[in-house]
Amino acid sequence: MENIEIEILLVEDNPSDAELTIRAFKKSNVANKIVHLKDGAEALDFLFGKGVYSTRNINNKPKVILLDLKMPKVNGIEVLREIRSNALTKKIPVVILTSSNEDPDIKACYELGVNSYIVKPVGFKNFTDVVSKLGFYWLLLNKSPNE
């Protein structure tokens, strides 16, 4: 638990969507070190080394955070807000990956400084396509800030 090197932090409450996403990443060979957490509260504990993650090395940061919006306890927008208002985490690229195609959500996320907003496609092939493109872009193409 202490020194798992993490590339992608996937915060997703829907187990089917999570399984499909992880499978797509694995298939495209883009990333191996994926941590999947099921709600926003756990994600914040993980990032800031609280609760069950108090022994984790918090300087071991994900290269990109994939965040769903509608989650129980702490939702995606609140997680985004916390991430962006904390020096430790505010430079980590965050990609919202959600079913919601509604303007108010999109607007709110960009106002909070999200890097990207992707609407989960319904079709499976499209979904795997999108996920592998995401992985390729954020992990291989995009330059992360050196920290």
Binding site: S16, K120, V122, F124
Partner: protein, 380 residues
């Protein structure tokens, strides 16, 4: 000579008498001196004010003041007539029994040789009934205004409910649908050596239907979103718009249709919505004439009275006129998925948009002999 003068005088006097009688008969008349003391009233005045002649003569005209009019009003009245000018207006007066009446009033000053008024004659008509009707109308209007505000608030609530409903549909229905497609695919991929041809066929039907459902959800959502959008009206160049539509369609669909676009009228309309209308009508025309060897489509417009009528015509599969009423219904189709794919919402969207513009849609067709779709928009 003297006899002539006398005769003329008698005639004048008779004429004046006749005038006076006519005046007394038809109007309410009062004469006051320059201080406003009543010197003469006719019978109509007595009748409407409910005072007797004796009670009025020698009294100040202010005896019938109702107190309704502001000081400025009265000041203005006196200023006008003491200056020697005629005053016209509507006045509310009080009768002897404390009831009120309205009169349309003209006050004429009589000017002496020095140019100053020495008496005033007020000629009036009873407009109490009209004033009452006016007041009732105002009250009715106010009441109506309140009702409108109330109804608008109700409608806004319903709209908000619809918005959250479509939001729900958009989000919550898509997730399980994605899972169905996703897991069917995973099954196919991971177990392809263990599933036989029949199994694969069953799986493909699962996937196909899941995809259809996704399409239906999207179409239903755009249909509902339509009603909530605000219209932005501009003078739309329909030829330019259709040109853009054809380019868009060519990007997505390969087709052989020959499309003839005549010179089209400009329409005062919402550009985005009109774009949607033409995309739907032309895509339909292309789709339903795609089985034809030489599919041809024509777009034209004409001015009929006060309406601009547009038409999109094709020589394709057409339809049975017996079912023409079903054409524009949501999810209503006149062909099976095997014949032509589609969800049946395209025309419903067209109708909704045209309705929003205050126009109407209709269609004509013959099985296998093509169809023509029309919409008319009134030129405001």
């Amino acid at each position: 000579e003297r006899k002539n003068a006398e005769k003329k005088l008698k005639q004048s006097i008779k004429e004046l008498k006749d005038y006076k009688e006519a005046l007394d008969e038809s109007c309410i008349v009062a004469v006051t001196n320059q201080q406003g003391i009543i010197t003469h009233v006719n019978d109509n005045f007595c009748e409407i004010s409910k005072y007797t002649r004796d009670e009025l003569i020698g009294q100040n005209h202010s005896i019938i003041n109702s107190g309704y009019h502001p000081k400025e009003f009265i000041k203005n009245l006196w200023a006008t007539i003491t200056y020697g000018k005629v005053w016209r207006g509507e006045i509310k007066n009080k009768a002897k029994d404390e009831t009120y009446y309205w009169v349309d009033t003209t006050i004429i000053p009589f000017i002496n040789k020095q140019g100053k008024p020495f008496q005033y004659i007020a000629i009036r008509a009873d407009i109490t009934k009209r004033k009452k009707a006016e007041q009732e109308l105002n009250e009715l209007n106010e009441h109506l205004e309140l009702k409108v505000i109330e109804r608008t608030a109700q409608l806004e609530t319903v709209n908000k409910e619809l918005e959250s409903f479509s939001y729900s549909v958009s989000h919550d229905l898509r997730a399980p649908l994605r899972a169905v497609t996703g897991y069917a695919n995973m099954l196919e991929e991971d177990y392809q050596t263990k599933i036989d041809e029949e199994g694969k066929r069953l799986l493909s039907i699962i996937k196909y239907n899941a995809e259809k459902m996704g399409q239906l959800i999207d179409d239903l959502l755009s249909f509902s979103r339509l009603g909530r959008k605000e219209m932005q009206t501009t003078n739309v160049d329909m030829n330019g718009l259709v040109e853009g539509v054809l380019i868009e369609i060519d990007k997505v669909t390969k087709h052989q249709a020959e499309i003839k676009v005549n010179k089209l009228h400009h329409i005062k309309s919402d550009y985005g919505l009109m774009n949607q209308v033409m995309i739907n009508l032309i895509s339909n025309a292309i789709k339903y004439s795609s089985k034809n060897k030489t599919p041809t489509i024509e777009v034209k417009s004409k001015l009929v009275g006060n309406d601009l009528v547009f038409s999109v015509q094709d020589n394709g599969a057409g339809f049975d006129m017996r079912y023409v009423d079903k054409l524009f219904g949501v999810f209503q189709r006149l062909h099976t998925q095997d014949e032509f794919e589609g969800t049946g919402v395209g025309l419903a969207i067209v109708q909704r948009i045209i309705s929003k513009h205050g126009g109407r849609v209709w269609a004509e067709g013959k099985v296998n002999k093509g169809a023509a779709f029309y919409f008319s928009i009134p030129q405001s």
